[in-house]
Each structure stands twice: as structure tokens, then as C-alpha cells.
Amino acid sequence: MINVYLYGKFREKVPDCSVDGECMLEMENREGDTIASIMGRLSITPEDVAHVFLNHQYSAFTRPVRSGDRLAIFPIEMSVLYRQYFPKHDE
């Protein structure tokens, strides 16, 4: 399973989610899954997304995901990050 943490308007995808807590969805891990495919299953398009962190690493959508991973997704209206600070992992 992959633990997907959702923020901002994406919290609405988690039932009974509190704004001051963590909104987490457990999602099945399928062979060949990437961040993009997980987003697709959540009906989240790349244009809607500001930042994605996989296991606390600032990540590209193409990055593979594996069982036990922590994936955090922030919507575009939470786009406040000096991206220059972060290495972007894509492998």
C-alpha cells in the first residue's frame, strides 16, 4: 500500500478529514505505478499540482512509487516554495 497525504482542496477527497490534521488515503500499489498514475487514480491532473514529495523528497511526477512509500500532494493554490532550494528527484 502507498500512503497518500493530501493538502488544501485535495483534502476533500478524504472523508471526515480535519484541516488541522493529516488527511491520508491508503492506496493499492500496482505494478509500474508512478506518482502520475497515483494522481490519475485520484483524478488529480498535473496542472492542479504545486508540489509533490515522495518520502520527503521533492519529486517529479514520473518517479516510480513502491509499497510503503509516503506521497504528499499539494494543490496549485498552495504553491509557495522557492523551488531552487530543492533537488528534484525523478528516479
Binding site: 497525504y5 496549485i76 493554490e77 498552495m78
Partner: protein, 577 residues
């Protein structure tokens, strides 16, 4: 109205109007305060003695209708770091100073009678020093209220709280917001103590009857103003995120990045982050009657400020920013937003920089003076600062002083100034900025990139150390230009990403000054201006060896990434070589 320099001598209580020297004519904001300090202050002087000077300067375009340009720069030799210091703030005073024609206000000397305080009242064609009377000893909330009653609603106030009056090294300089709240601080580096050492409690600015700021080329200025405003409105950061959530949106983001310093920089993750986040502030604006999208000065189109309320809906504090929610929250292990807002309010009242205050409390917690997570005790300690108790005076002098007083070795400072809300072991790029800034650890000093950030896309880093240093210097140069123009640093998001926005910013500067600066000049001037600050620091005794992070960050791994700060010294040294 023509511009002039106003020189106030607190030794003989004289106020003189001087012509603007040609050398200073094209300067403003940070470069102007730093150049005056470099020209007139002996780098070896005691920062709280008669030979230091405190300089106030609006930015180059401040006072015009250029968007988000109401910044006030305050400069002096810092009692916290011993370096040159510029801190800037929003609020309403800067635009009023500019409209009075004040290019820079220089305050020098020291009052003959220690402990006596004055206010400087500025209006069109008048500048009067008078005794502070009942204002002396008052917190900034009471001070601002008294000043608006006595001098008129709407006047600008630049002031210090009891921490500044007691010359504490973490005292900041308050600027009032449009509702007369004192929460817009030129907070860093103890400039409030320098103002206190001059016996100056407040500067009161009445702009009645003034005209517009002189603009050399109005057509060019207007074009630039429109281009920049459009870019700010279109960009996701300045047009959406900052107005909706304020800067505290970063709490959850940095927590996911594993870079949110927690419990005195012992972890990059805080389990209570969600409770002190921008999302909570946004939610409270709907459920408690607070506000997001609050402008700290007229003409700000970004509106990152907010108003946080008590549970009963009454005003509590404005603003609660990311750095503050982190410093008084995660860094102290405190996950109660009402406690964080109360501490923020006390800092605003007593006159403290919230970053330094939270870092200091974290050090005191590590020393066992109070427990991590004990918000109520932390509130009491901050109140002691305003009361001037022995413990309050230790806390009020900042993290480095408190660490020495309490035998703590894990003290997160560079050049004596506390680090802001990005742990440099997880976010190494900002570690380069912390180490090499002319100001001590300062997140606003430049968007420095780190070694690994150049490997975006997972490729090997192709650049050598000297090139990395040059790139880092480039970011610091850009920052000093924006600070000097009088723009809020948040315009950087839009001007770095949108070329028309960048050109618009340049056009406004050229329009005001009648210059023809290009992008090359933007970088060249920034580098030259940084060199002025660097030279002052060298004369004050600082060398490359001071451009380092605290030792524990080189050997103590930070979870969850379990990284140390491993940027080579040669990279740090190359930034200013």
C-alpha cells in the same frame, strides 16, 4: 517635492535638513542604509554606543503606486551580530516618509540623560523632537493607540517596545499596519536596541498636505507598474497561495520536505505541524472571523498578511507568519495555534523579533528551563522579557546569549543570529545563504542554490565550486536590488518566472530615477552593493571563517533524511571571492 536627508542628533537634540549628496541620489532602501552606515559608522564601534547610527530609508519606488512597494529599510551596526545590518518591513510608515520627501533619516549620538526617551514627529516642513512622556515603558499596542489619539488617526508609527528601551539584542523596530497594529517588524538583528540607545521611542509620520513622489519618466513608470501588477496577479504564488493561506502555507510543505526545524533543530518533522499551519489560519478566517488576504500597506496586491482571532472572534494578532508559526510552534514543540498567536502578540508588544524569540525559547527548552511543548510557560517567559527580570533579559538577548548563559552547545545561529525556518541539513541551498549572508543567518538574504539543487533532473552536477559560488552570489545580488527598490521580496516569485514582470520592475525603477538600468545592471549593481556590506563586516573583524554553520550541524544527522550539512568550505568561500 524634492528629496532631502534628515539628520537627528540625540546628543544635542538637533534636527537638520541636508541636501542629498550626488552619491546617494540614485540609492534607496537597503543599499542606502548600508552605504550611509558604511560611510559614517566606525565598524569597530560599540553598536549601542554614541558612535553607531541608525538609518531609515524608504525604497526607490516606495511612495508611488508601484504594487507591493511599501517597504522601509532600517540599518545600523547590529548589536546581535556585530555586522552591518539591514532589516525591512511593510506597514504604512515608509510610503509616508517617502511622500514627505525624506530620502533617508539618520539618527546619531546619544541622549545626555540615560533612560530618557523622545519621539520624533515628522510632518510637511516640520521635524520636531519632543519628550516621549507617557509612552516611555509602554508596549507597542498601547503606544500605537496613544499615538493615534494624540497625533491623529492614520499617522505612521515606527517604534520600539520595552525590549528596545532596555537595549536587548533581540529588540526589533515596529511599523504600524493600516489598522494601527504593531506587527510589521524590521525585526532582525537588534535594531530596536540601537533605536533605544538613541533614546528614541517612536517616529510619528503625518503625511497631510504632501504631494506625490517625484517620478522622472511617468510613461515608463506606468508601463512598468502595469506589467509588474499583471505578473503578480497571474503567478500562482503571489496571485493565489499567499493571499489564500499567507506564508504559513509553508508549515505543511516544509514538514513534508523534512526540513521543518523541530524542537531546537533536532528533527525536520513535527507531528503537530497541521495544527499551526496556514490551512488552519485560512479555516479560522471563515469560522472565527479572522482574515486572510490582508494587505500590510496600501497598494499591496499580494496581501499575504492575516488577522488571527481568539476563539470568541476578538482580534488576537496580526499577522501570524510562517517564520513565527514555526519558531514559536514547531521549534518549541508547541502545536497550539492560540498559544502561538499569544506569543506572537507578546513579541509584537514587547518589541521582539519572533524568529530569534522562538529560537531562543528552543535553546532554553534544551537547557531544561522549560519543557518542549509547554506553551503556557513559554508565554510567561516572553512576558518576563517585557518586565526586564534577570531571566527575561537573558531571553531578550537572543539564542546565542542564552546558549552561553545556559551551557547549551546546540545553538542554531550564524554570526550570532538565529536561523529561520528551513533546516540547512535538509535544505542545503539555504544553508549556503545562512553561512555567507552579510547579515548572519537570514532566509531573505538570497535564494542561494546548493550543490545538489544543480542536479535537477537527477543528472550529475556539472559545475565546479567557483561556479556554484558565483550563482549563489547572483541570488544574493538580486535580493539586495529588490530590497533597495522598496519592493516586497515576494515579488521575486513572479519576476524570476515571468520575464515581463521582471522588466516591469526594472521599468518602475528606471521611471522613478530616470535611469536606463538593464538586467545586467540589476546583477552588477546588486554585486557592488553587497560588496559595501561585506567590506564593512571585514573592517569589523569578520572573515571567511565566520561564514560557517554551527558545528553540530556538521556532525549531527537530521531525521528524516538523516543528513548533515556537507557543503564544502571552498563552496562557501567562493560566494564572495
Amino acid at each position: 517635492m524634492g528629496k532631502f536627508i534628515l539628520r537627528v542628533n540625540m546628543s544635542d537634540l538637533s534636527v537638520k535638513k541636508e541636501d542629498v549628496p550626488e552619491k546617494y541620489r540614485l540609492l534607496g532602501g537597503r543599499v542606502l542604509t548600508s552605504t550611509v552606515v558604511a560611510d559614517e559608522v566606525n565598524p569597530a564601534c560599540h553598536p549601542l554606543g554614541p558612535n553607531n547610527k541608525i538609518v531609515f530609508a524608504p525604497g526607490i519606488v516606495t511612495g508611488t503606486n508601484a504594487p507591493s512597494s511599501g517597504r522601509l529599510s532600517v540599518g545600523a551596526k547590529s548589536p546581535l551580530t556585530g555586522t552591518i545590518k539591514e532589516a525591512n518591513a511593510g506597514g504604512i510608515p515608509a510610503q509616508k516618509l517617502a511622500r514627505l520627501g525624506i530620502h533617508a533619516l539618520i539618527v546619531e549620538g546619544e541622549p545626555k540623560e540615560k533612560g530618557k526617551f523622545f519621539v520624533l514627529k515628522l510632518a510637511q516642513d516640520t521635524a520636531i523632537l519632543e519628550e516621549a512622556g507617557e509612552l516611555a515603558g509602554k508596549g507597542m499596542y498601547d503606544s500605537n493607540e496613544i499615538i493615534w489619539k494624540k497625533y491623529g488617526e492614520g499617522v505612521g508609527v515606527i517604534g520600539i517596545g520595552p525590549a528596545g528601551e532596555m537595549l536587548m539584542c533581540n529588540a526589533g523596530v515596529s511599523c504600524n499596519d493600516p489598522e494601527n497594529g504593531p506587527g510589521r517588524y524590521a525585526g532582525r538583528g537588534g535594531l530596536g536596541a540601537v533605536m533605544g540607545s538613541k533614546g528614541l521611542k517612536a517616529i510619528i509620520i503625518d503625511q497631510k498636505g504632501t504631494g506625490d513622489v517625484v517620478i522622472a519618466n511617468r510613461d515608463l513608470f506606468k508601463q512598468g507598474q502595469q506589467k509588474l501588477a499583471k505578473a503578480l496577479q497571474e503567478h500562482a504564488v503571489t496571485g493565489q497561495a499567499l493571499p489564500a493561506y499567507g506564508t504559513a502555507v509553508l508549515v505543511n510543505i516544509l514538514n513534508e520536505a523534512g526540513g521543518l526545524p523541530t524542537r531546537n533543530f533536532s528533527s525536520g518533522r513535527f507531528e503537530g505541524a497541521g495544527k499551526i499551519s496556514g490551512e488552519v489560519i485560512n479555516e479560522w478566517s471563515k469560522t472565527r472571523g479572522g482574515k486572510v488576504g490582508h494587505a500590510c500597506h496600501p497598494g499591496c496586491v499580494i496581501k499575504c498578511s492575516n488577522v488571527v482571532t481568539n476563539p470568541d472572534g476578538s482580534y488576537h494578532c496580526s499577522p501570524v507568519e510562517y517564520e513565527t508559526a514555526w519558531s514559536l510552534g514547531a521549534n518549541c514543540g508547541i502545536d497550539n495555534m492560540d498559544d502561538v498567536a499569544e506569543m506572537n502578540r507578546i513579541c509584537n508588544d514587547v518589541g521582539l523579533d519572533t524568529i530569534e524569540a522562538g529560537a531562543t525559547l528552543g535553546v532554553a527548552m534544551e537547557a531544561g528551563i522549560l519543557s518542549f511543548g509547554d506553551g503556557k510557560k513559554a508565554i510567561e517567559l516572553l512576558k518576563e522579557v517585557g518586565q526586564g527580570t534577570p531571566m527575561g533579559r537573558i531571553i531578550g538577548n537572543g539564542a546565542a546569549f542564552t546558549g552561553r548563559a545556559m551551557g547549551v552547545t546546540r545553538v542554531p545561529v550564524v554570526k550570532g543570529q538565529a536561523m529561520p525556518a528551513y533546516d540547512p541539513r535538509a535544505v542545503k541551498g539555504i544553508g549556503v545563504t545562512y553561512a555567507t549572508s552579510t547579515m548572519g543567518a537570514d532566509h531573505t538574504a538570497g535564494y542561494t542554490v546548493a550543490t545538489e539543487i544543480l542536479s535537477v533532473g537527477g543528472k550529475a552536477d556539472p559545475l565546479d565550486a567557483a561556479e556554484k559560488g558565483a550563482l549563489a552570489k547572483g541570488f544574493q545580488s538580486a535580493t539586495i536590488f529588490i530590497d533597495s527598490a522598496g519592493y516586497c521580496l515576494f515579488i521575486a516569485f513572479a519576476i524570476l518566472d515571468i520575464p515581463e514582470g521582471f522588466q516591469g520592475m526594472l521599468d518602475t525603477v528606471n521611471g522613478v530615477l530616470g535611469t536606463e538600468y538593464t538586467a545586467d545592471d540589476f546583477n552588477r549593481l546588486g554585486a557592488e552593493w553587497l560588496a559595501v556590506e561585506r567590506k564593512f563586516n571585514e573592517a569589523a573583524g569578520f572573515t571567511n571563517k565566520d561564514d560557517r554553520l554551527p558545528e553540530f550541524m556538521y556532525y549531527e544527522k537530521l531525521p528524516p533524511h538523516n543528513q548533515v550539512f556537507d557543503v564544502d568550505d571552498e563552496v562557501l568561500d567562493s560566494v564572495h571571492s
